[in-house]
């Protein structure tokens, strides 16, 4: 394993902050896959997944070095200051590391860091996996999110990731400044993984995604282990019309009654919104359609319009 610093930042206290890359190098000319985690400092599942992947590859190098055919680069903690504070944004710069990229990137330090990171990924990857957890409000099943214009290239890869769901959605302005969008525009297939919830680590979920990543590395020809690729599940593939979002009609505390991953019938109870000051249930949220509950609100404090759940219809969604 080679360790490299992509972007050292000198802090006012004199200690450097570094974006580190760990590389497992195979034969030149073979495929190169990069894993990226920690763009948001409160999304820890991806960081942990990188740890698990590094651990796996170190073990593989020791016991079966010839199994590494291609190259794996891992960027396990690209926003170290935010990760250290466990906040989505870097506490000093208050900038979102995944909203910095475009034609004109500005001169702020986060913008400079993102440009260096993007250059590094572009120059050393044939495929990128960008690992995210959800925000503080929602918990998600393991899913790959794909912008429609990139679906032809990405769906065949996403099918190999052991995800529960592949969600193809339209482009919108909010994605244009992200790593996923800019790498895909640069013709480097990039899968954006969304799994779990921020500030937590779900070991079982990480096992599932790790198996998917190892399977993907086999599929891409980066790995050829004697034990072969792990089995992966067939994810549900959904397009925008097949995803139903349930939003709160009232403010209050949301208490979930359904379970993430549950197959629901139309009318099943998702949870209720209660008015804590008056001791009243102000809303009973129900499933508008049958399907897979793949997003469920975790944060009880709820404002009108807040997302409570997302349901994917399985009937038309199987790839």
């Amino acid at each position: 394993m080679q360790t490299e610093t992509i972007f050292p930042i000198r802090t006012p206290l004199g200690t450097p902050i570094q974006i580190t890359r760990q590389s497992f190098t195979g034969r030149r000319g073979n495929p190169r896959v990069s894993f990226l985690a920690g763009l948001h400092g409160d999304e820890l599942e991806g960081v942990y997944l990188c740890h698990r992947l590094i651990q796996y590859l170190r073990g593989l190098q020791a016991r079966e070095p010839e199994a590494l055919r291609g190259t794996v680069h891992i960027y396990p903690a690209v926003n170290p200051q935010a990760l250290g504070a466990a906040t989505r944004l870097s506490p000093f710069f208050a900038s979102d590391m995944n909203r910095q990229l475009g034609d004109k990137n500005g001169h702020s330090l986060p913008a400079q860091a993102c440009q260096k990171l993007l250059d590094s990924l572009r120059n050393s990857s044939d495929c990128v996996v960008d690992l995210h957890a959800s925000n503080l409000h929602l918990r998600e099943l393991a899913q790959i999110r794909i912008i429609e214009e990139f679906d032809r290239k990405l769906i065949p890869l996403a099918l190999r990731t052991n995800a529960d769901l592949i969600w193809v959605h339209p482009a919108s302005g909010v994605f244009e400044s992200t790593f996923g969008y800019n790498l895909n525009r640069a013709k480097i297939p990039t899968l954006v993984v969304e799994a779990g919830i921020c500030l937590r680590i779900d070991d079982a979920l990480c096992d599932q995604v790790l198996n998917g990543m190892i399977h993907l590395l086999h599929h891409l020809g980066v790995l050829a282990t004697s034990e072969g690729a792990p089995e992966v599940k067939e994810p549900m593939l959904v397009h925008p019309s097949e995803v139903h979002q349930v939003q709160a009609e009232h403010a209050g505390l949301f208490v979930a009654r359904a379970r993430l991953g549950q197959m629901l019938e139309a009318g099943d109870i998702l949870g209720e919104v209660v008015d804590p000051l008056r001791g009243e249930v102000v809303e009973e949220a129900v499933a508008p359609e049958a399907g897979l509950l793949f997003t469920l609100r975790e944060h009880p404090v709820t404002y009108q319009g807040a997302a409570l759940a997302r349901i994917a219809q399985p009937s038309r969604g199987r790839p």
Binding site: I9, R10, T11, P12, L13, G14, R88, L89, F92, A94, D96, R99, Q100, L101, G102, D103, K104, N105, G106, H107, S108, L109, Q112, G173, V174, E176, S177, Q247, H250, A251, G252, L253, D275, P276, L277, V301, T302, Y303, Q304, G305, A306, A307
Partner: protein
């Protein structure tokens, strides 16, 4: 007239109300929207808008006989209600920069709903002015920002009387900003930036107030019986005229100039000292002649962070011409 345009219920108390103030007079079909408080700590814009609300109430009630309303004006003084109440730039509950929440939505989360309401109410205006402060850690000299303005828009911007009209490069997130939403809806939109977050600078607010009143007179939204006056000359700067000065090292940045200063190449902007020993590490010099539009005001600085933005004047640049 004060009007509630959106009610945001809260889980633990009374709902918050997003309001606009509006006035109408005369037969001028044009209209102006003034927006402040997208960020809860951008206080200069809010301070200017409350002065404008009082001024326009006086005009509408005939208590300021020099002025008469001739068009439609609406003011949205605080858009990010939760952030203002929290005393922070963004609402801590969603941490969403509201100027990245546009076009917003009618049925989304609270921040998106507020953004959607303001966009909907302002996108049929003839003119839009967004009042803001510099980014966190910086202070701006009062200036006008515009995006790809045509010749008429450039000349009109000079009537805001701030001396600096600056074409801004579109940031990667520009499509999520209010100014972009105005532009695609054919609203002649400008952002007026002045001062720093968390501070009201009354001198800067006076300049903004006078400039906005002059703008309303120039656009025919207000009639003024006191005679006409030429605007203070302004300089128009293109994006290529911008020079960003980066800090060569980390430590204290101690400025020796103020935003708005006209600097000569080689003139000192300040110096960087070691945070703990106080040793002077670098002096920061102006790389070219130029107007200092943005200066770092938060003294602790990382290596490579911007210290200042200078706008280089190229001839011919003085307006009106």
């Amino acid at each position: 007239m004060k009007e509630t345009i959106l009610t945001l219920p809260t889980p633990f108390g009374e709902p918050l109300e997003l309001v606009k103030f509006h006035w109408e007079g005369g037969k001028n079909g044009d209209s102006l929207s003034l927006v402040s408080g997208l960020h809860g700590d951008h206080l200069n814009g809010l301070f200017v808008n409350q002065r404008l609300i009082r001024f326009l109430d006086q005009v509408a009630e005939g208590r300021n006989p020099d002025y008469q309303l001739a068009g439609r004006v609406q003011i949205f003084p605080v858009v990010n209600l939760h952030a203002l109440a929290a005393g922070q730039s963004a609402w801590p509950f969603d941490n969403l920069d509201m100027d990245l929440a546009f076009p917003g939505s009618l049925g989304g989360e609270a921040t998106e709903r507020a953004a959607g309401a303001v966009r909907r109410h302002s996108s049929d205006s003839t003119f839009g002015l967004l009042l803001k402060s510099a980014a966190t850690h910086y202070e701006d000299a009062p200036h006008v920002q515009c995006f790809h303005p045509d010749r008429w828009e450039r000349k009109l911007a000079a009537h805001l009387g701030l001396g600096i009209v600056r074409e801004i490069p579109a940031p990667p997130t520009f499509r999520l900003q209010l100014l972009y939403q105005w532009i695609v809806n054919e609203v002649t939109g400008y952002a007026l930036s002045a001062g720093r977050p968390g501070i009201v600078d009354t001198g800067m607010c006076d300049r903004l107030f006078s400039g906005i009143v002059a703008f309303m007179v120039k656009t025919g939204l207000l009639k003024y019986s006191g005679g006409s006056s030429e605007p203070k000359p302004s300089v128009y700067y293109r994006t290529r005229d911008e020079n960003t000065v980066l800090s060569p090292c980390a430590g204290w940045f101690l400025p020796e100039v103020a935003p708005g200063a006209c600097l000569k190449q080689g003139e000192r902007l300040g110096e960087i000292r070691d945070l703990q020993s106080g040793e002077t590490l670098e002096e920061i010099l102006a790389p070219k002649d130029g107007a200092l539009v943005t200066l770092r005001c938060y003294p602790v600085i990382y290596e490579g962070e911007p210290v200042a933005t200078l706008l280089e004047e190229r001839k011919p640049g003085i307006w009106p011409f």
